[in-house]
C-alpha cells in the first residue's frame, strides 16, 4: 500500500483506536518505519487520542501512592 493510501484508507484511525487487525497493524508499522510523513500522521492521531484520554483523568485514592512508594523503597533496599 502506498503512503497516501494508508492515510486515506482509515487504517491509521483504526490502529490508534486499538481496532486494527494484527495484519493491518504490522503493515502500518512497517510502512511508518519507511515513510517519516506517515509516522508523523500516526503520531498526530495518537496525540489527539491521548488528549481525549487525559480529559477523562480521575484522581486515584491517596492510599495507593503511599503503598507504592513503600513497596518501591523496600525493593530498592533489598537490591542494595
Amino acid at each position: 500500500m502506498s503512503e497516501q493510501r494508508f492515510i486515506t484508507s482509515g487504517i491509521i484511525e483504526l490502529y490508534v483506536a486499538g481496532m486494527a487487525t494484527e495484519q493491518e497493524a504490522r503493515e502500518l508499522e512497517a510502512a511508518t518505519a519507511q515513510f517519516p510523513e506517515l509516522a508523523a500522521e500516526v503520531e498526530a492521531c495518537r496525540r489527539d487520542m491521548e488528549q481525549y484520554i487525559r480529559l477523562q483523568a480521575v484522581a486515584p485514592p491517596p492510599a495507593i501512592k503511599e503503598h507504592l512508594l513503600r513497596m518501591v523503597s523496600d525493593e530498592t533496599k533489598l537490591i542494595e
Partner: protein
C-alpha cells in the same frame, strides 16, 4: 503535590533508570490520574482499578529498561501498559460482551463526580466533546480503545456489518479530533 519544576520525558526516563524514587513520586503525581482514568473506564470498578494502577506503576518501575524512546513517547508506553493490564484484568473477570456495552453506556454519568474533583477545566472540555459526539460514536471509540473489542465484536454489539464498523470508527475518530481542536 506538584513542584514548579517540570521534567521532560527524557529526564523522567533517566531518573527512573537510575532508580530515583523522587522521580518515581513525581511521575506518579503527574500521570496517575490519566492512567487511573483509563483503568476505571475499562474496569468500571474502583477497587479493581486501584489494584491495576498499583500493578501498572510497579511494572513501570521494574521494566523501565525495556522502554525504548525510539518506539514512542513515555506516556504512550505507560498507557499501553495500563490498557493491557486493565484488559487482562477485565478478561480474567470473564466479562460478557453485553456487560462491556452496559459499562460503556453507564460510566459517563457514573464518573462525573470524580472528574469535577480532579480538574474542572478538563471536565468542561470533556463535557463539550462528549456532547457533540453522538452516542454511537462514543460507544465505538470506547469499545475499541478502552474495552479492547475487535472489529467483529463491535459489529456484533452494534448489529452492523463489519465494513460499516471501519467506516464509522474512522468518522468517529475524525469527529473526535476536530472537536478536540475546539477546546
Amino acid at each position: 503535590m506538584e513542584s514548579d519544576y517540570t521534567y521532560t520525558e527524557a529526564e523522567l526516563v533517566q531518573g527512573l533508570k537510575a532508580r530515583n524514587q523522587r522521580i518515581f513520586s513525581y511521575l506518579y503525581d503527574h500521570y496517575s490520574p490519566a492512567l487511573y482514568g483509563v483503568a476505571l473506564k475499562i474496569l468500571n470498578d474502583e477497587t479493581a482499578a486501584g489494584d491495576t494502577l498499583q500493578e501498572v506503576f510497579l511494572k513501570i518501575w521494574r521494566n523501565i529498561d525495556r522502554y525504548n524512546e525510539e518506539k514512542g513517547r513515555l506516556f504512550t508506553w505507560m498507557l499501553n501498559i495500563t490498557r493491557n493490564t486493565s484488559i487482562d484484568m477485565l478478561r480474567s473477570k470473564a466479562h460478557r460482551l453485553d456487560k462491556k456495552i452496559q459499562d460503556v453506556g453507564d460510566d459517563v454519568h457514573l464518573y462525573t463526580g470524580h472528574l469535577t474533583v480532579y480538574q474542572s477545566t478538563d471536565h468542561l472540555g470533556l463535557s463539550k466533546v462528549l456532547e457533540k459526539l453522538n452516542k454511537e460514536q462514543r460507544i465505538i471509540i470506547d469499545l475499541s480503545y478502552y474495552k479492547g473489542c475487535t472489529q467483529e465484536e463491535i459489529a456484533t454489539i452494534l448489529n452492523i456489518p463489519l465494513g460499516t464498523v471501519k467506516t464509522r470508527t474512522r468518522l468517529a475518530m475524525i469527529r473526535l479530533r476536530n472537536l478536540l481542536k475546539t477546546i
